[in-house]
Structures are given as C-alpha cells and as structure tokens.
Subunit: 213 residues, 2 copies
Amino acid sequence: MLLNKDQILQQASRYRATLINSLAGYKSAVLIGTKSTDGINNLAIFNSLIHIGANPPMYGMLFRPDTVERHTLRNILDSGYYTLNYPKADDYRKTHQTSAKYAAHQSEFKECGFNAIYLETHPAPFVEEAIVHVGMKFIEKIDIPVNGTILLIGSIEFIHLPDSIVKQDGFVALHEGEILACSGLDAYYKTNFIERLSYAKPDTELTTLSIES
Amino acid sequence: MLLNKDQILQQASRYRATLINSLAGYKSAVLIGTKSTDGINNLAIFNSLIHIGANPPMYGMLFRPDTVERHTLRNILDSGYYTLNYPKADDYRKTHQTSAKYAAHQSEFKECGFNAIYLETHPAPFVEEAIVHVGMKFIEKIDIPVNGTILLIGSIEFIHLPDSIVKQDGFVALHEGEILACSGLDAYYKTNFIERLSYAKPDTELTTLSIES
C-alpha cells in the first residue's frame, strides 16, 4: 500500500488518527499520576514518554491541550510534580480504562481499580500495583508552534523498582518486570527479549551482553 | 531499589546513561535514511520517534548534537528530507551496527548490509529490507534550552507498507510485520500482541477490537 499526504488527508478523521498513531511505533504504556489543587488524585495513560537527557536525568512527554489529558497537564503546572508508573502487562485493561473521560471530582485510581500510594516526600500519587515508580518534577514547557502541542520536560527526582530487574551496568530489564508495551491508542503488547548487543564499532563483530544480575 | 537524584548523579557516566535510557521504556527501532550534500547515503538507528499530530500527519525525533547522530541531523537540515524505515526483528544486528561511528565518506547502508532504494520522487534513500517506509519532509527544529537537545519535526509525505498489516479502521499491526522493538541503547525485542481495546468510557465494559483485515 502506498498512501501519499493528500490521500492521508482525505481519509476520515478517525481513520487518519488511528493510522498515524499506530504507525508511530511501539511505546511503553505509562500511567501518569497527579494531584489537583482540590486534592483529587488523577491518573492517565500516556504513550509519549521520551528520553531527554541522563545528566541531569530528564524525560519529556507530549500533550495535546484539547483532550482529556488536560487534567494531567493542569495538575502538573499547578503542583509542579507528577509520577510515572509502569504497569504490568496483565493490568492492560485497567490501564486502558484510565483514558475514559471521568469528571473532575472523580479519581481514575478508584474508578479503574488502582491503589494510590505516596513514596518518600513526593507530593504526587503513585500506582501501588505498578512495577516501576518514577517521581518527576516539572522543569519546562515547550510550545510546538506547528500544531499547538506541548512538550513537557521534567527531572527525575527518584526511581523505585525491583532490585532484580536492574543489572550490573545500570540496564533496566523491563521484560523481567513483565512491563506493558503498546502501540497507537488501543493496542497492547507483551515483549520477548532477543538480546543486548555490545557497543557498535566499524569492522568489529557485535557480541551479546549478559543480563545476569 | 530506591535511587534518588543525588544517587543517580553520583553514578559513573556510563551507568547513568544506561539506567536512564533503558528506564525510558520500550520503543520502535527506526532506521533514518538521509543523503549528504556529497551524495553519500547515511543510515542511523533512532529510538526517539514521537507522534506529533495526525492532521496534518507529523512525527518528531530527538537529537543530541554532540553524538554520531550529527551526520543525520546535518543531512536533514541541508536537504530537507529523510526517511523512516522499520526493520524486521530478525535484522536487529544489522540495525544495531548502524550506530557505529563510520567516516563521513562511508555509507552505513553498504557497511551494515542494507540496500538503499528510492521511492516515488523522494530525495532521501530508503532501506529495501524494511517492512515499513515513511517519506519525511523537514518542518521545524525546536531547541530544548535545558540541555541543548533538539526536537526535529517533519511531515509525513507518504507511507509504503504491506496491505496485509493495515486494518479496516487504519490500524497498523506492527506485530504482523514482525517489526523490531528496543529499549535503551542496545536491547532488542520481538512483541506478543495481547489485543486492541474499545474506546474507554466511564462505567462501560471494555470490549476487544477485531484486527481482521
């Protein structure tokens, strides 16, 4: 199949959204926890987590301000804090359910069957059932002029995850935690680890990196 | 394991990079094809593809200007065009090898064993062996002040992929194309499809979406 830009633009809006979102590739399904100024714990699924830098450690996320995600964005800008929670693959239905448009006074934690917990002194709520917890602090909001989306950048304040999935060189074996992957807006995956490969150099054979702890 | 920001910053640089990169989650391994002003076909693996918008269709990618990726960035800014190529999981070794620092006069296509082909009138080269081909045109470069990384945004000019993996509603079943996934800088995955779920609404049971063609 070959579709050019005009043909893509002629498709119905929902077809185009499904096509372009799913074609953007595999992602992690990440649950973002925030707290509103009214004290309501908010939880929403995002698939746009992106590595910004390791020193200092920072991640980015993309927001479309005209969607249900606005609760999350407003809470982050109001409070300055949020959490990243990586659910187990088996929790994919509860994770997907967080994308429903609940009223502002409802908490997706309760409505979708997740427990809200607090870690360290972090002001935003975490998902107890998640395998990986990352406490985030808002740094910067970058407007993307071409279509009004927003890249939100935060610093990693702390990470909390099972010892067993962190390897000697710092590698986090997400598959050993059976962490959920996704594509597009509604497709969920488990993963099969192939292997880790050595640092690539010209004219040098690649070798397998061990992931023994 | 609980690591706070200070403890992360105290780690050796390579440990920290491995930790923060792999913790950023599952991604697609995408090969970016470009052509230099000298006519050399360049190919590089990226794992930072991000959906920016569907109308018009746009994707973003993150660049760190101080790395090997600079050939790709310079070629895109010089020529205005690039390609996205989604390799098969079985080609993960050749895909990883494109991250080696080849000299400017060398082509990663040849050095890593991929064939360069041209599609439509697109000026940048595609990977013949890839399952999905996306022709991209440069739109905008956004500097991220906090650490000097660059978000590069491009428009989708056309897409080329097997009919069989595009479903009735526009969903692209990447797993049916056996497309490669990755995490961090060196870990590769196949995926196991669980299912697609219906649009989530409060107090409404989720149902399975068919992916019959």
